[in-house]
Amino acid sequence: MTIGVGFSIALGLLILAVAVFTIGTRDSFAAVVAFVVYGLLLSLGWMNLYCPDVALTEAAVGGGVTGALLLNACARVRSEKTSDFKKSPRWIGRGMAGLLCLALSSGLVAVVILLPNPAPTLAPEATRSLSATGLGNPVTAVLMAYRALDTMLEKVVLLLALVGVWSLASDRFWGGRATFGHLPEPDRPLIFLTRVLAPVGIIAGIYLFWVGADAPGGAFAGGAILSAIWILVFFAGLSVVPAVGSLGLRIVLSVGIIIFLAAGVAGISMAAGFLAYPAGFAKPIIVVIEVAMTLSIGATLGLLVAGPPGESLKP
């Protein structure tokens, strides 16, 4: 056990060091690369806490998709490479901010040490009704059954964010597609990589979603992997980003929420209330919702990285 504790100390120190570097370096590109590393290390930290569901989501979203988003942004604003400390607050302001944050961190450290250990837990309640949902993974049960309303609204937030991103397009590009991953010439090694990774990635995404019922995984991790593969296809130039006006795209984006809402409304008449699942049918309903959600999450995350439309369909 002591070796395990030593490993955790090393991991925690490394995470802190990478965070210090992310916020301290002058070079914005170095900061973004450090942030990608930070996401990967956090995923290791989540495994160290025995939260594999979170580790999967963090690995796919935090390290992968966020990394692509920020690297792309950093390359677009290349001219402003270095952080300009002349515009930051004077040293008094910085010192006061530092003191405030130090006080906050110390308070939180005290909280960590003083809080009851073991903490009050809802784990017994979460496992008690597990058999009624037909699921084996309590985290998925919380996401899809006990707190399904949160998950549904979270899908709405994702879609709203995408609407927000799209609404930043210029008028003349509206209805067009994002200029993302456009290449002057085909890039053969990248096409090879995409052709190898795409089938494996799609299988891995579906697999993670499917085992999510009984083992760590689920719609979020699976959808994030699918979106990463989709972005890779854009980068390789094997496909173009769909136009925002496309009806098919809009159906895929909203199918998760529509099915979720339909199941919720059906619950009012067939079971106890909104989003209540009728006894015995919980598992199939959850699976149908999750299929739609995985598709929608994958499409939404991919389009969030691709950004607002910047090219009209007919020039």
Binding site: F29, D187, P189, L190, F192, L193, V196, L197, V200
Partner: protein
Amino acid sequence: MSIAVALNILTIVAVSGGAFFFLAGTVGLLRFPDTLTRLHALTKADNVGLGLIMIGLLPRVAWPFDALKLIVVWVLVLVASAVSSQLIGRKLWRGGDGS
């Protein structure tokens, strides 16, 4: 019993070898004089290192399916590393240091 001991020795030897290759990769990344040589050190060393660690871990997994997944992980990293180093190398070759 002797098979278990042999497998344990295999694990220790392979994992130690893998760790040594990670050491080599890091030393190369830190000590080699320019970017292309550092790319060379990185891509050769860490793939062999990961491969040896995978070989060491193969006897330790509970299910055969997990062993298959370990091999898939290694092959994926090989492909990813080969292609990404090619992309980085070409970017360096064509467009200066890319900084």
